[in-house]
């Protein structure tokens, strides 16, 4: 059982300063622009499942390592708080997170409260028009500095792309019970260029396990 992290090395507290909403009062809202040391990622997907089911999967924070890249473990430390660990090649970052808003079947918002990462996020589950499942929209906010760099080192993608990939994994996991993977399949000798390309294509990033318990 992890203990809560008490200190926040990044002096600045993340203020959750935007909403994942794409439409307000009938108008389209563009995603927030990167500025003041904050970077944003907004992405969405149409998922063939009920909003309540998808909410439950997302809200079950301890199962996040099943579908989030390079997430080693997540442990609940309170009703709305949890401890997150990412680890790769001896590099490790960890942080505590708290849920700020929790509307079953509709929306979850969170932010980090201590540790190596200053991040915040929101996910909204909307019923898609025309019986096309659920429209899932995610907005995540990262503070530049140690975290963004560490994230990139550990995950092997910039945080924006990892938000996109994680939603893709979430969707595949929810729709099929697995995440498509090619790691571990046979091939002939790769050679030096082949190895370089593998990392260029993002294929060195471990595909989340999907079916195994965290």
């Amino acid at each position: 059982m992890s203990h809560p992290l008490m200190e926040k090395p990044n002096a600045e507290q993340v203020l959750f300063s935007a909403s994942a909403a794409v439409v307000m009062d009938g108008r389209y809202l563009a995603p927030p622009q990167d500025k003041d040391g904050k970077i944003w990622a907004r992405t969405s997907a149409i998922v063939q499942a009920d909003a309540s089911e998808l909410y439950a999967l997302w809200r079950d924070v301890e199962s996040a390592p099943k579908w989030q890249e390079q997430m080693t473990s997540v442990r609940r430390i309170g009703d709305v708080t949890s401890h997150w660990v990412m680890e790769s090649d001896g590099e490790k970052i960890e942080w505590d997170s708290e849920i700020l808003a929790d509307e079953p079947g509709k929306r979850i918002a969170w932010r980090s409260i201590a540790g190596d990462s200053s991040n915040a996020g929101e996910v909204i589950f909307d019923t898609a028009p025309g019986d096309r499942g659920t429209l899932v929209t995610v907005l995540q906010e990262f503070h530049l500095g140690k975290i963004a760099n560490a994230w990139e080192t550990i995950v092997g993608r910039n945080p924006k792309q990892s938000v996109i990939e994680n939603l893709r994994h979430f969707k595949a996991f929810a729709e099929t019970g697995e995440i498509p993977r090619t790691q571990g399949q046979p091939h002939g000798p790769r050679g030096i260029i082949g190895k370089m390309k593998k990392s260029l294509y993002g294929e060195t990033i471990t595909t989340p396990p999907a079916e195994k318990a965290s």
Partner: protein, 397 residues
């Protein structure tokens, strides 16, 4: 196991590699009994498809026996004989539910590569570059088949492999091209390209009620096969033949009701005569490919349909859009939605309406495959279709 590996442009080797294993719960491992080389594999051989890596196993047309299934595959068991579609589909995403299987959202682990290049991602494919998923292909003794609960077609009858193997790609691809041509009974249909896909397009056009099919190519062996299906052939390489004039002559001046561009898949190999340097070659590829499409748009009758099964990968230059608009034509195209066609086409084979094995000109071993790629690419030895027995020893296939 033995597998045909891409080791660089123009460089293939048959190598010993590890056997595949189950990686996901919907996987199956298939012991391959027959596999084929596709015209589109020649694009990989010639280095035209980006994101290939040394060591990649080629091949997307294969069939075999189920060796092992993952925990969540309930419809197949060890020993079942199956044909595997070259596009991989999950069965559960919005696109699969709409039966647009080749647009599946959940089977390409490298969607980001395709999104970066094209702004969208299609389904994963076997043995066809990392952008298309990076899946190991089927020119091998075994293959791992993801989403085996959705794709593989079980063959319950005792039809030989060679009669059903082409359900893995070229028969459905040719059939969808004909279906996309919106053929009405008695229509005249022109087909550019009499390679494997063109052949099945011609056969399918007749199945769908075409009154006359006009086949356009320059290789005598292909034109002969097209005539054997009942098509009228036009050899565009003959000195005094002009394709547009020929099509007018054969339709009382109005043009065919439907025009099908089945050249895309083999465009580079039909257009190249001799050895060009690589830069010229890729330039030719870019300029010549839309050549057939331009002709098809110019030739089709007012209100007719242009269908495009040929693979286009980039931007087209100087497409006669004014003629397309002026004539009010319909254009239909796209990667084959394999899963819609495999079963109904198997029934046609079982009923004896068609024997797809008529196309096969060469039967080889895995060891002979690298050399046969070269023979086919260089248009030698009258190749129409090459089939591989992955278990045959050299010289015995």
């Amino acid at each position: 196991m033995k597998a045909v590996c891409w080791m660089g442009t123009g460089k293939l080797e048959t190598l010993n590699v590890p056997d595949p294993t189950l990686l996901n719960p919907h996987d199956a491992i298939i012991k391959i009994t027959r596999t084929a080389i596709c015209g589109s594999d020649l694009h990989l051989y010639d280095g035209f498809i980006p994101t290939m890596e040394a060591g990649d196993i080629l091949g997307h047309e294969f069939m075999g026996l189920i060796e092992e299934v993952g925990n969540d595959v309930t419809n197949l068991k060890r020993g079942d004989r199956v044909v595997v579609p070259f596009t991989i589909a999950c069965g559960n995403c919005l696109f699969c539910r709409k039966k647009l299987w080749s647009a599946c959202d959940n089977t390409n682990p490298n969607s980001h590569l395709m999104e970066a290049a094209y702004g969208y991602s299609g389904s994963g494919l076997f043995g066809y570059s990392h952008m298309m998923g990076g899946y190991a292909g089927g020119q091998a003794q075994y293959a791992r088949v993801p989403f085996a609960n959705v794709g593989p077609l079980k063959i319950e009858s005792d039809l030989p492999d060679e009669k059903v193997l082409f359900l893995s790609d070229i028969f459905p691809t040719g059939y969808m091209a004909a279906e996309n041509a919106q053929i009405q009974p008695g229509d005249t249909v022109a087909v550019w390209g009499c390679g494997p896909v063109g052949q099945f397009t011609i056969a399918s056009a007749f199945m769908l009620g075409a009154g006359r099919v006009i086949a356009i190519d320059r290789f005598p062996e292909r034109l002969k096969l097209a005539r054997s299906l009942g098509a009228i052939t036009v050899d565009y390489s003959e000195e005094d033949v002009n394709v547009l004039t020929a099509l007018k002559d054969l339709t009382g001046g109005i043009g065919p009701d439907a025009c099908i561009d089945a050249v895309g898949l083999e465009a580079h190999s039909t257009e190249l005569q001799g050895v060009y340097d690589k830069v010229k070659t890729s330039l030719l590829l870019e300029t010549d490919r839309p050549g057939v499409l331009r002709q098809a748009i110019q030739a089709v009758r007012k209100g007719g349909t242009v269908s495009i099964p040929g693979v286009y990968g980039g931007l087209l230059d100087k497409v006669p859009f004014g003629a397309a608009f002026g004539k009010g034509i319909t254009m239909k195209m796209g990667q084959t939605n394999m899963h819609n066609y495999m079963k109904p086409l198997l029934e046609r084979i079982e009923q004896g309406q068609i024997d797809p094995s008529y196309l096969i000109s060469h039967r080889i071993t895995l060891d002979e495959a690298p050399e046969m790629y070269k023979v086919w690419r260089d248009k030698k030895d009258n190749v129409t279709k090459i089939v591989i027995d992955p278990w045959a020893e050299k010289g015995s296939a």
